[in-house]
Each structure stands twice: as C-alpha cells, then as structure tokens.
C-alpha cells in the first residue's frame, strides 16, 4: 500500500452529499498530507461528520472524487475502507459491551485456528500487546462494558491499529474524556504520527486543535471555508471562520446583586457501598445565594453530577448531612418533591435524560407544568400554546412553531426548550449540569447570556461544566471537586484555569 509518489494520504475533491431536504456537503475539497494531523473544525451541522463518514465508507458521495494514497477509491462499506487502510473512531463508540476487549478489537476479523475455531489465545496476546503500546492498563479479557469511557476509546484505537490503518479518523475523541485520559490520548496520537500514520481529527475545542494539528480545515454549512497551517492562524480567527463572525469572548463582569441565602449544605456525604472509596461525595459544605452563580468544576467522576442529583432528589436519599433550602431542611426522595419546592435541574445528557422525542416542542416545554394548561380538567391545546409562548420567547428558541418536532431542532435550541420547561415551574434554584455540552459555539454564547440574565432576575444557579472558560466567564464563585471531595473554592477574582486545574487534578 505504499504510493510514496504522492505527498497526500487523502484527497477529497468536489465532494457533494445530499440528504432528503438538506445538502450536507457542497463541493468540498480537502487535501491531507501523509503523516500529519489534520484538524477539521466547524460548528455542529457544518458537515464534519458527514465528510468523515464518506471517507470511511459509511456513505457514498453523490458527487466528487476520493483518492486514498493517490488511488481513486469508491468504498462500498466500512470493511472496504478498512482494507484500504482507513479506520474511523466514532464519537459514539461502537463497541459490543458484553464482549471482551480482545473480541471487540477483532470483531468481524476474528483470528482462527487451523481447525477453523476461534483462536482466543492469539487474539488475547495481540490485543494485550496493542493495549500496552497504548498505555491502556486493562485486561484483554475484561468485559468491555465495565471499562471507563477513556479506556473504551483506546480500544477503538487498538482496533484501528490492528487493522494497520494508515489513515485514522477521530470524531471528537475527547468529548467524554477526563483531562488525564486526554493527555494519554495525545501521547498516543503523537506516537501514531511518529509512525507515519495520518490522522484526521474532528474537534471544536480550540486548545486541543492548536496543540495537536499541523493543518486546520474549517467547514461551515457544508462548505469548505479555509484550510490553513496551524502556525499561520489563531484560535480566535478559526472560531470566527466557524461561526462566520468574530466572537468577542463574552464576559459578564457587571457585578450581580447578591440576594438572601438560598441553599446551604453542611457536611454532605453520599455513600457508595459497592465502590472501594465508599462514598460518592464526602464532607461537602457549601452555600448559595439568590442572584448568584456557583460554578462546580471537577474532572469526570469527581462527583459533580452526583452533587446536583442529590440536591434534586434524583438518586436514592441515602445521604447524611443537612441540606437547607431557604433555611428549611429538605430531603427530596423524588424529583417531584424538588419541583414542588421550586428546584429545577437541567440534566447532563440531553438526549438520554432530557428530551422526549415523541412529543413536540410545546409538549416538551409544558411537561412539568401541565396543570396550568388544563381547562375543565382536560388539557387545552390553546392554553398549552399560550403557556409555552413565554418561555420559548424568553429563552430565544428558534422553532418553526410550538408543534414542530423537537428532534428537528438543533442541540442548542433543544437545550433552550429544556431550560424553558423548568422556567415554567418558577424555580428559585436552578441546577445546570453541563448545559452546553455538544452545543455549537454560537448557541453557547446565547445560553451564557440566558443563564446570566436568569441569575440577574434573582435565581440561584449551580452550574457544572467540563469547560473551564465557561465557568470562569459565568460563575461568581467556583468550587472544585476531586474524587468526591470539595478541594477548593475560588472567588471570581481569584480563579484562573491554572489554579482550578491544579486543584482538580490534585497536583
């Protein structure tokens, strides 16, 4: 497979792909140099993933040429692409959870003994070798579903390596990784590059892209905007190309008015019997005032979500300690009780924990306040519409109408609908668990303004985020969790990314 006569590992020329009702890609041309890391940037829906799916044989292009190592190819499926040396690591991992690590690595290409039976020994041995080379300390015999996301991702990479792939596509690989795991992944990436592997890297995290990439291509609305060398550009410039405008990094510096004390938590401990640590959260004490945003920083697994879920009554109330809401001790056993006490929570995983795909926009927004849409004991469509009009307007949801399908909206608009749902319950305490995850840059800025405005209207907000700049921009105070403990607290003036990260990683 050596065609050294061309410097380009991949050439995609004039690629066009249409789906019913939408042109996903229009006349996109990209040339990727061999042995380099080429980042593909763009907002959600810009066509990045579609382009990579064409490269890895999942979709055929409607128009255009695809050249791999100088040879024109027409892939009929991923297997075909893999044979040509192209492997893709999907954003949503495609592993069979109930099979062992080795079985997943060799899925569909199982090694066999001379009798035609599975050669478990050879597969386990080779898988082990691959895992060691990736610094992945799990057994090839482990059940894949029991592993952490970061390790699962490395298994996908091991799979690509076992294919001897010369071109590896990574679709937002760090979106679910902790900082440590991201660092390990970056080491793996540099090793792959050193071996001459070409990497196409999809991401909208600018820091990552600027640390790793040699060249950067920006897509917007299915069109190719620019391809530049990393050293010739700046993150601000690239973000500007992505959204089609320069984003001034928004600051919300005008001081907020701090209201009365809303929430006080003393010595909270959430046990976790099946875990060696014994607790999910321990010795947590904090307070929150109305009109204040409390940021919660921490790596994945630090207990951010658990903290919010405990307050909201979303997990079994086995905790000890006290939670005082407006001075009164509370112990919610079901989210219903939290709603009644004007506590609202926007959950972390929008698709899995927030959206109702079979209900329309109005149904998704009105769900927690349906009693207000009743007329004579029955739901009235007209009342429901007028009920949801205000939150849809206040949160700035762009929708064709209240009866549009929620799944047709963009991630940012879906998130605004869910925030709108909770605003209808007239909360005094709003818990936001990583509300901007998987949302594109433009929509993030709008959500920041929304959260800031809600806070100024007198809500108390607890905000978790895996993106530190977000917390730094929004929060009045930031607490840092690590391994279930509250490690540090910073005021807005004190907090820097450096300090928070040091506290979170315990360094």
């Amino acid at each position: 497979m050596d065609h050294i006569d061309t410097p380009h590992a991949v050439v995609m020329q004039g690629i066009t792909k249409r789906f019913p009702g939408v042109t996903a890609l229009e006349n996109v041309t990209i040339e990727v140099e061999r042995g380099k890391l080429h980042a593909i940037c763009g907002e959600n829906g810009a066509g990045k993933s579609t382009l990579m799916k064409i490269l890895s044989g999942i979709y055929p292009p409607d128009e255009g040429l695809l050249l791999v190592n100088g040879v024109e190819v027409r892939f009929t499926g991923t297997r075909h692409a893999e044979q040509a040396g192209v492997a893709i690591i999907h954003q949503e991992l495609a592993l069979v959870e109930d099979l062992s690590v080795a079985a997943n690595v060799f899925l569909g290409r199982e090694k066999r003994t001379s009798l035609g039976l599975l050669d478990e020994q050879a597969m386990t041995a080779e898988c082990g070798r691959l895992l060691v080379s990736l610094e992945c300390h799990v057994s090839p015999r482990a059940r894949t579903g029991n592993l952490r996301v970061g390790d699962q991702q490395l298994i996908e990479i091991a799979k690509a390596l076992s294919l001897n792939a010369s071109i590896v596509v990574m679709d937002e690989p760090t979106s679910a990784l902790t900082e440590n795991e991201s660092v390990r992944l970056e080491r793996t990436i540099s090793r792959l590059l050193a071996h001459g592997t070409t990497i196409l890297y999809i991401s909208h995290k600018m820091d990552e892209v600027f640390r790793l990439a040699d060249r950067i291509t920006v897509l917007r609305d299915g069109r190719h905007i620019k391809t530049v060398n990393r050293i010739e550009t700046t993150p601000g410039e690239v973000t500007g190309w992505m959204v089609g405008r320069e984003i001034a990094s928004r600051q919300f510096d005008t001081p907020r008015v701090r209201g009365p004390k809303l929430l006080e938590i003393n010595n909270l401990r959430v046990p976790w019997p099946e875990h060696p640590r014994g607790y999910r959260l321990s010795e947590i004490s904090l307070d929150l005032h109305a009109g204040e945003i409390l940021g919660v920083a921490g790596l994945m697994g630090a207990g951010r979500t658990e903290l919010l879920e405990t307050i909201f009554g979303a997990i079994e109330p086995t905790w000890t300690g006290t939670i005082l809401l407006q001075g009164k001790p509370v112990r919610f056993r079901h989210p219903r009780e939290a709603c009644a006490a004007h506590v609202a929570m926007v959950t972390e995983d929008r698709k899995r924990l927030g959206l109702f795909p079979d209900l329309d926009v109005a149904g998704n927004v009105s769900l927690c306040s349906l009693t207000e849409a009743l007329r004579g004991g029955f739901l009235s469509r007209a009342r429901e519409e007028s009920l949801v009009a205000a939150p849809l307007r206040d949160t700035g949801v762009k929708t064709p109408g209240p009866h549009a399908s929620i799944t047709a909206l963009s991630g940012g608009n879906q998130q605004k609908c869910i925030i709108g749902r909770w605003l209808l319950t007239k909360p005094s305490l709003l818990l936001l668990d990583d509300p901007t995850r998987g949302i594109d840059v433009g929509a993030k800025a709008e959500l920041y303004s929304l959260i800031d405005r809600l806070c100024r209207d007198g809500l108390g907000v607890i905000l978790t985020s895996s993106e530190l700049p977000e917390l730094l921009a929004l929060a009045d105070r930031i607490i840092v969790l690590s391994e279930g403990r509250l490690i540090a607290e910073f005021s807005r003036a004190q907090a820097t990314e450096q300090k928070i990260m040091e506290a979170a990683t315990g360094s």
Binding site: R336, R352, L353, G354, F356, P357, D358, D360, C368, G377
Partner: protein
Amino acid sequence: MPHPEASPKISSLLRSSEWALVLAILLAVIATAVADANHSYWFEPFESIRDIARNTALLGIFALGATVVIIAGGIDLSAGSMIALSGTTCATTMLALAPLQMMGMKPVGPLVVTIACIASLLVGFLVGTLHTWLITSIRLPPFIATLATLVGLRSFARALCESSTAALTPTKSALINVSDPLFKTVRENVSIPVAVFGVLALITWLILTRTVLGRHIHALGGNEQAARLAGIRTDNVQWFAYCFGAMTAALAGLFYVANESVAAPVNQGRGHELNAIAAAVVGGCSLAGGVGTVPGTVLGAIFLRVVIDAVSKIIKTGADVYEGLIVGIVVVIAVTFAQIGEMAQGGRRLLPGGLGLCAIPTLAILCGAIATMTAGARAGMIATGVAVAFLSFVRLWESRRTA
C-alpha cells in the same frame, strides 16, 4: 431520523396512516363482497355487520388496554390469560353466592351478577398491580413479568375452576356454565359490547390526548429516565397503564363468558393477547413506546376482524384455522408499509445477498402452500410461480439499482 408523525396532533382527527387503514378496510370489504361465492355481504348485510362488530368489540376492548401499555413503553402478554381468569372469577363468584341457581341453570339475579362482574374487574386491578410491582420494584423487564403471568394466570384460573367446582358442586369440572338471562341479553344484543367498546375507546382517547396522565404516559414511553427527572411519578403512571391493560382484559373476559355461556379457563382467550398487540401495532403503535393513538388501534382491530371475516367467507372452511396466519401476514404487511418510505430513502434492499436468495424460495413456498390449501393444487402452482417471478424481478432490479 425523526419520526415523521412523532407529535400527537390533536387538531386533525386521523393521520395519513390511519386514512390508509380506512381505505384498506373498505378494500377488504369490497373484495369480500365480490369474491364471496354466497355473497353474504349482499344478502345478509346485518348478519355480517353484527358478526364483525361483535368480534371487533371483543378484540378492541382489550386492544385499547394493550395500546395504553405499549404507549407507556411496556408490553402486556398476559391479556389472554387475564380473560380466562376474569371469566372464571365471575362464574366462581356466582357459583359461590348462588350455587343452587347456577347448578339448576336458573337466573341468579342482577345483584349476584353485579358482584361477580365487580369481582372480575377487581381481579384485573390486582393483576395490574402485580405486574407493576414486578416491573418497578423487582425490576423485571415487562416482557418477563407478563410472560410469567401469561402462563401463570391461566393455570391459576384452571385451578380455581376445578377447586371451586369440587367444593361447591357434586363433581369437579374444567368449566362452569353460565346461563343467567343477563348474560343471554348481552349475547343476543350486539349493541351492548359495541357500545361498551365505543365508550371505552372515547374514554381512552380522552385520557391519552387530553389529560395530564395521558401526556405523562406518552412521556414515560418516550423516555422513562427523562420522565422521572422531569418530576413525573413514573411508577404511578405505569401502575395505571398495567391496571388499565389488565382491567380491559377482565372486561373483555366477561363478554367472552356471555358470548359462550360458559367460563372455560382451558381455552378462553388463549393467544388473544397477541391479536390485541397486533391490532395496536397495525394501528401505528411503536413497541419502543411513546407512539400510538386510539383511532389507530380501533381501525387496526376493525381491519384485523374484517380480513379474518373475509377469509372465512371466501374460503368457507374453518376460519379459525387460518386466523393466526392472517394476523401474522397482516401485521408484517402493515408494518412494512409504514416503513416503505424509509426503505426507499435509505437505499435499503429487500432481498440482499445470500439471505435474499434464500428468502425467494421461502416466500414462494409459503405463498404456494397457502394457495394450495385454500384453493387447490393448480392455484398453488400458479402462486408459487408468480411469487418466484416477482421476487426474482425485485432482486434483479435492486442489484441493478445499487450497482
């Protein structure tokens, strides 16, 4: 891919897929009217309508229950056994309260009948509660929980029948005759089950589209975890759904007893849970939950009964023999039609690869066998030939298109 008809539209009475069902029903009726050698739709229209109406009402009553359970994201496999248990409970209660009249085939009086019917519905409530407890507290998958009661309840009904007849009558028996005139009235007046079905359909429709509970049922079926986190008491919503499912089956069980003048737990309602699920699915319910309508299920039930009736009219011999076959075919065709747009868009092939090659003779043999059994050897040969030719053409066309 968002479901094109994902949002419950209250404004328009029927969705396009439901209009398609109306059309299919009309076509089936016309086909029967023409193809039936006795032309019973012409000569005995009222007889025919009464027959279909009775059967549809009996199926529809517990198909509505199945619909609610399916929209809530569950499944209830036990409806057929619940029918048997309900009938047996009713008959046993009457036997216990008025043994002499029951044995002497005399009227037992409206009070006893009322108590017996209430007892049956109460048993439905208890079974629904049991299901919900198994599913929400023990955390059994609905399929397993109701599979257990599918086999368990029928056995329980038989045991109840035998032990109660052993205790209250001179001989142990596997069935209890029910001859009270009230039941006879129900049997002779088709309008009663039809009216009950109509009212129940209206109530179910109101619950599902116009109440908070109904919205919560849709939400629960669409995304259970999100529903809980939105503050919905999902356990209670499930409790309603499974009780509604079991109680509609209990209600249907009473009509079965009236219809057959006997409570016979060995066979009454056997396998009927699948007809109810089929009616709901043909009517547009998704077994993934969250999607489905009452008009859809009503039309689905009518369609199933009309097609079964059509086959019995056209073939004449033993319609019950072919009932399962028809239900199976109708379900496959209805759900295929619902997906046909998606198939064409996604470029999916009907007969791909080696599987497609083997599917051609499989389907052709099936067609040929059915045609032979119903219309003779000659028809069988022709059907096989036509099927092979048609499917081969489809296969060739598909491989041309994708090449």
